[in-house]
Symmetry: D3
Subunit: 245 residues, 6 copies
């Protein structure tokens, strides 16, 4: 049996997609903070500049996103499609994202949930990333030649609200309880000051993480939703468990 889980940590990057400049931070910023702290490279791909939002100008929001990424130890790029609140499920977009996957060649990909009861850009980006993860494997896609095909190991959906959580996938929980992780996450959310001054977004995310954590006997946890079944070499891989009574 390959000594997969316990051996030298895999060093493939985690790649996170966001529809707007703050989605990644609010949806899974604590997870990113933890990964970069233990040495995994993280890269963000943001698909609009948030120009349709009520608060914040696009330039400000891009700057906030860059600063938040830095706080989380991640690099960032912007891949604009149809513009904030204009995203459509188009094959060309999925192929563009597949090209990003082939370039970055990540192990784990994080994307917004494709559940529909949320900002339409979120569900559509989730669907596009899901498609892109398949297209990145197809050797004959002429738009992507000559970059070699790439198969990611995991696609995990994150959710910014409970309504956005997929109702047909069981969550897995990532323990983000370490104080420095929570602090880095909060700092990254606070970096989006154009958004947080007007709404209590940070409180929402901390309450969600606290609730998932309390339910599993830890301080804070982020729920992620795997697009495909997880595969383990043995029961030892199932994690430490977090059953309450």
């Amino acid at each position: 049996m390959k000594p997969t889980l316990s051996s030298p940590p895999d060093t493939l990057a985690v790649l996170a997609f966001g529809a707007h400049p703050d989605d990644i931070e609010f949806g899974c910023g604590g997870v990113i903070a933890q990964e970069t702290l233990i040495g995994r490279p993280a890269h963000f791909v943001v698909c609009s500049r948030g120009e349709a939002g009520t608060h914040g100008q696009p330039e400000q929001r891009v700057a906030e996103a860059r600063r938040a990424a830095t706080l989380l130890g991640a690099t960032i790029e912007f891949v604009e499609f149809d513009g904030d609140s204009h995203l459509e499920v188009r094959a060309a977009h999925a192929i563009t994202l597949a090209g990003v996957l082939r370039r970055v060649r990540p192990g784990i990909v994080l994307a917004p949930s494709p559940a529909e009861n949320q900002h339409p850009d979120h569900s559509r980006l989730g669907r596009l990333v899901c498609d892109a993860a398949r297209l990145a494997c197809f050797g004959g896609l002429r738009e992507l030649t000559p970059s070699p095909p790439h198969r990611i190991s995991h696609l995990l959906f994150y959710a910014v609200t409970r309504e956005a959580e997929p109702d047909n996938i069981s969550p897995v929980l990532i323990d983000i309880s370490r104080p420095e992780i929570v602090a880095a996450w909060v700092a990254a959310m606070e970096a989006h000051s154009s958004q947080t001054s007007a709404r209590n977004y940070i409180e929402v995310q901390l309450a969600r993480a606290r609730l998932y954590g309390l339910g599993a006997a830890m301080e804070y946890a982020t729920a992620l939703f795997p697009a495909n079944p997880l595969v383990f070499n043995s029961l030892s891989g199932l994690g430490r468990g977090g059953r309450g009574a």
Copy 2:
């Protein structure tokens, strides 16, 4: 971060429950073979002697189960309730099973799926074990005094047929592709010769494992269904991935 996953293998036993003498072997025998091979103790609790079956006398079936457990490297005991095809969801049974949990003190527990479209003993035992896993934690249960409460780390459901797979839990896959594992599993199933001579049960299970395996780029896999969210310290714990295109 606690070095949980990669450190000295946890040594708590895996405890598997079966309603009939062959359920564990057919439902998750490959997983058991793998666990015992890597040194984890395994114990079986079988809740009838299969006396309602069309084939095989109870004594023969008990002997087959004992032999199969040995082939899988597991110990076995029989805890009889209402008899084969007579199992009811009674609080006393759940408490009895909670007592077993307190005695064996396993980390991981395997039980038949509580989905209802299957042999009624299976779904009811699944429900009883689910209840027992909670009751084992309650300090005031007088029937269980003075054995100290015990909290298991994971409850995972197995299924003997596809119809029995829970439709509200995402599966996780355990890679059981190593030839010696498959061989041990098949041997354990063949030990139930009273059953396998009349029906193609072994072929069904191998086809299921093959199909799960092929879908995740490996030879054979068993699907298990966690009763509660899995918890990981980081994304590195999510296993090696098994995405096809």
Copy 3:
């Protein structure tokens, strides 16, 4: 009516279970009328005398049920368990019902839906019949010796209200549009005069059948819910189709 699908009619009886004296008639009386008209024997097993109902004395209700069965061309027997509104899911009951299945040896079995949002007797009887259909196959069940095992061909659930329709099974529709069938069905429902004088039960059932019928381009249809996948020898077996636009 076209001489329909099965030229040489299979002659195994249809066996319908009801928790109360009028359940079968209200839930699937039109289907029964049609089957007996084309020569299939029908038998009813009623599991209480309706003694908890607000209207009608048990003797009256039994008499009404006998008369309704006659109007539908069916025979009837009463198998009492715990009494109206007292039915429990007990293994002994499932075994008793399995004994009935071995005695009557039907091809098709109709039972109330096991969905829970309805009269508790209904869902419990549905569950018991589902279990009984399995137990009837097990050769070693000592209570049922020496009656030979029997495997039914189909278990179909009926529903008395929409809320009782199982939400995880796709319905099949049985065309009951022929005027003599509708008339026989209405007569059988009217035979339960202790019930129909106080409530508009007949109107409810006709509206349900009319609505299912209108949705499939026929006059009246009854929706039934197969417990297991239907099996056909070719696409020609799929029926005549009832797609609207």
Copy 4:
């Protein structure tokens, strides 16, 4: 084979849609083989030349598809939309497919499942065919004038993998156990040698068919998922049943 359910065979063609040159064969080739063997015309409409695939050039793949269709006794045509891996849900495409339906005028239509966790072309073609089946009925659609409206009798979804099976439709099983049917199916799959040399697609499909078959007491079965309720004239139409215990 027993002359089964429909004595005078209905003679409307079965029309199968595929997103790529091999989808129909892998998803429901056994069913097609059986239909043509008993005299029903079959026609394939393939919506790309598989040009994005890792293996096989478009010309080769088209030739493979033509040969496979011949082996199954079917005719074939190619209706190209946006290209392999580029398919979008556009009204114009649905109308084009509705035009095909009006031209071919089939009774039964087979299409890939619209479930989303699969190749995006598959789910989108499933959605488009579903829409087309409705649009084909609308007399005022100017693009389709003057071809007369056509109402199909059944739309059934097929799935190439288990993940693609719709989770809100109960399957029906078609018995494809006859050795000559299995042989024809395997030959048609093998005709796609550009695909099967690199991956074990044929084994996957045979394992799926074997598993469905074993669960229903036959050798091999294909699961299909009806878009609308099946309609029968009596319980005799429900097929022969395939209940295991």
Copy 5:
């Protein structure tokens, strides 16, 4: 506590969207009749002229819709997108609808269900209105400047058939039993004489309303499906209840 529910009736308009000239009337005309009778303004937005339908010319259908709106006490406008049977989910359409929401500034919005097993225009319009209700809140959407953002209080889906009812939202029932309401509703449906002469659409809707009503102890009721949880100031707001036994 604010005396919300019992105080001066809120006077914000109800805004109903329909894909075709008769959708609103058939799907929720009774509810509209009731609202206008008690003094709430109602406005209809119809997104095609029904030009793909088998029966009725576009001019006739527009005239029918205008007359039906008048009969229901509502105003009406036509906002054409891609044409009947050509509707696509495009961001530009959602933004156009968001502009309508900002102009009309309704409290309650009614839209066709986004469930997919129905006329594709219906599900797509449901999706578009759902998106529009969010976009109308976003202050930075340049296409909508300078109209001020508007947040509706409720989005409720209506369904024209049972198949179109969303299966993941619990319905609420609106009692439309008053004879003058039913009469106004029927008159509005009859105004679409180009449609009702050929099909029994009115009977379908009355049977649906009757069935919902009978199930809740009233004469007629319309089921609506709230896109978001309802919020009440106390349990007194939960309505009068309609439980049967």
Copy 6:
């Protein structure tokens, strides 16, 4: 139209059932506080003394429950069945509870959710109350003679954890944001000091209520799950709405 909603507030009591002495307070104590504050009588029925819990002796727990009820303005009684962690779904229990319903004659009933992934006593009590609400209507139940039948207006399920929330019922939210309501709720939870000293139950409930509240633009909200569709006389009854963007 009957002026139902806006007229003299209904004065029927709210009756809440709990399996253990603290379930009602943790699950829906804020709602109770609000109801009693506006003058609605509230009564609690607790079905064990919590004697299986790890912390707290039965006498202490009963005293805590009495004090908590007083703090919430409710009366309380204990109806013991099989004992803490021993509750079974027995017809006799449902009939006993139906007798309570006939005695108290409440309008609204609150019960623990029947979802199964929680303490087994909770789901079983939820099921029993659901059954009892039906049985209370049946005039012929001899155990309940001569108390007259009673039909409640609403049955609403509460949940103590997110896992216990029913996944097939849409929630409604009750705004409990008023500071004195939150204070009364917290005081009632704190009255269960035997429980709260060891676990952070209060924090869990406040986080849940805060999260539901934040999602609907208010401070705190409790989610309740109606067993049957809500019925309103007009759209004005739908409450004030709580849509976010």
